[in-house]
Amino acid sequence: MIMWKKIYTWLDERLGLNELYKATLDRPEPKGNWWNTLGSASLFLFLLQGATGIFLSVYYTPSPDHAYDSIQYIMNDVAFGWLIRGIHHWGATLMVLVVFIHMIRVFVTASYKYPRELTWLIGVGLLLCTLGMGFTGYLLPWDQKAYWATTVATSIAGSVPWVGPFILKVLRGGTDLSALTLSRFFAAHIWMLPAALAGLIGVHLYLIIRHGESAFPGKDD
């Protein structure tokens, strides 16, 4: 025990762990309310999706020849592969749901008002990134459902006046849904969107710490 304390003191002196703890976690909170935990829940789900996603990438192969087979391998032959993929699958649905309810809570309690407008705007970006994660991840199993869902969704994007055909080609990496579509959706799903999410989450959290949590409006508000 004494040795751990010594190690902690040594680290704290250099890293300022106590101040960090006070600034990030030991903040005053308006009257406790479960609706206020949805942001933390979204953050937890993001980390969970990140961890299980990293594990899935150990076996998953983003090529039309092997995508489906590699997922069959994860499901049937890898120890607890079904569990990791199951968590990633249901966690994705849950994350969209939790992020959405979080947004509704912020809207209903008018927490987006001054000085928290920027937190709201970044939250909109986070919502779009989350939906983008759902959209790109849906193609990766490369089964019939994935193929046709992406065919339809990219066709919808292609119906934009004037620039539609161009958007469609950018999304698909050509006119057809192909190996190029799969690899660019994979890159977006595991690199671009997570990087954007991580950056936006950082600013979002900074703003929450800076402004504190908004109190629930009372009867007079």
Binding site: Y59, D77, V78, A79, G81, I84
Partner: protein, 164 residues
């Protein structure tokens, strides 16, 4: 309250959080480790008895090339490799089988009936009908299947093949 069994609310929360956290960590962490090392835990059985056809069909004392394929599955990928062996019938009940892989660099040797030698096309190595090196760079005789590595069952020649 020194010496009493009373613990404060804060201590209780800390302890239960640590305990529940440890349990959750183990429930999540152990399957995660199993997931990562799963391919290493698979038993890999690569040996098999390969049938090479009826012994009576082989000419006495004449090396005859037989080819066969073996498939190997790694994860979701299946590779098919082909192998060749020379079957030499010794008698009505006995045969010796040689791998056609040159022991120098692994090229496939051919039987030359005029010289009564196996000749490797890559570096002109020569092996006798018994597989021994007659000339050239090979470090050892051709790999042979004899004794307990070859079996005649119901007139069919079988070899105990160890590779994929």
């Amino acid at each position: 309250m020194a010496g009493s069994h009373h613990i404060s609310r804060r201590e209780f929360i800390t302890l239960t959080t640590a305990a529940v956290g440890t349990v959750i960590g183990a429930v999540v962490g152990l399957p995660a480790i199993a997931y990562l090392i799963a391919p290493a835990l698979k038993a890999s059985t690569t040996d098999a008895w390969i049938p090479l056809g009826k012994l009576a069909a082989y000419e006495l004392g004449k090396p005859t090339l037989v080819t066969f394929t073996r498939s190997k599955i790694n994860g979701w990928e299946k590779t098919v490799n082909s192998y060749g062996v020379f079957v030499v019938r010794k008698s009505d009940t006995d045969a010796v089988v040689f791998s056609n892989k040159c022991t120098h660099l692994g090229c496939h040797v051919n039987w030359n009936p005029d010289k009564q030698e196996y000749i490797c096309p890559c570096h002109d190595a020569q092996f006798g009908i018994d597989g021994n090196v007659l000339g050239g760079p090979p470090p050892r005789p051709l790999d042979r299947y004899s004794g307990d590595k070859v079996e005649i069952k119901d007139g069919t020649v079988l070899i105990h093949f160890l590779e994929g």
